[in-house]
């Protein structure tokens, strides 16, 4: 089942600012909502998103329950060498999702 959509350019120039788009399938249940039977729906959120490039962290986001379902995040980076991104989402109930993408920098 599809869980994450990542949009990274395949090629970039040295020092060019590129945009990375990420979309991940997750309910982001706040922990404040009441279910049909009157019970509080337990919190189930992604807490952190970390992006590394060739092993070094380049971006991190801390999410709260106020991030919408199916979290969407776009951000920027500038690279000086080709390599691989790793995208890692971690959250409640041992949620862990890791994706990778490579890019040629010339």
């Amino acid at each position: 089942m599809a869980r994450a959509l990542i949009n990274v350019p395949k090629i970039a120039k040295v020092g060019e600012i590129i945009e990375i788009k990420t979309l991940v399938s997750h309910p982001m249940e706040t922990g404040y909502r009441v279910g049909l039977g009157g019970e509080i729906l337990p919190r189930d959120i992604i807490q952190t998103f970390v992006c590394t490039f060739n092993g070094a962290q380049i971006y991190r986001a801390d999410f709260s329950p106020a991030v919408a379902a199916n979290p969407y995040l776009t951000f920027h980076t500038m690279l000086s060498e080709s390599g691989a991104f790793e995208f890692r989402w971690e959250g409640d109930n041992d949620f862990l999702l890791v994706e990778t993408a490579s890019i040629t920098v010339e």
Partner: protein, 157 residues
């Protein structure tokens, strides 16, 4: 022939709807004036004694939101983004959701540009605040008011 009849009917309706809409707006623009205590406490926890100045942080949210479940938001911070002068973190806070934190991003000069987009939940009409930490330890703040017209007013439409 139907045209003139249509026009009259539409004109009559405009009046009816205008009064309905007026009521709604009154209800949903209760001013989100004073910054609630919880958000101020969180801001103090983040900034400590560092100076906080207004400006440089721009929040882009639709001023009128069709559904508070998923509100697109872009945050942009003015910064040269050099090794010596860049943004290190951007915090987004709000004053009326159950708790003040929305999202925080951590970055450095290699981002090239201090801007990100995401989508957030807003339970009510309120003020959203962006707080950027710079590499010299100072803070800048920007804010925007958002009106959430409760799309579930007719819960199923």
């Amino acid at each position: 022939m139907t045209t003139s009849r249509d026009l009259t009917r539409r004109a009559a309706l405009t009046g009816a709807a205008a009064s309905g809409a007026g009521l709604l707006v009154l209800r949903s623009t209760q001013p989100a004036s004073a910054t609630p205590e919880a958000m101020r406490a969180v801001m103090r926890a983040i900034t400590g004694d560092a100076p906080v100045r207004k400006g440089r942080v721009q929040l882009d949210l639709p001023p009128l939101v069709e559904n508070g479940n998923t509100v697109p938001m872009t945050v942009t911070v003015e910064s040269p983004m050099t090794a010596l002068d860049h943004v290190t973190a951007i915090h987004v806070l709000n004053e009326k959701n159950p708790q003040p934190y929305v999202v925080t991003v951590h970055l450095d000069h290699r981002a090239g540009k201090a801007a990100f987009s995401t989508r957030i939940k807003l339970g009510d009409t309120q003020r959203v605040v962006g707080l950027a930490k710079m590499s010299d330890g100072s803070f800048w703040i920007g804010e925007q008011d958002v009106i959430v017209t409760i799309a579930s007013c007719l819960e199923n439409f």
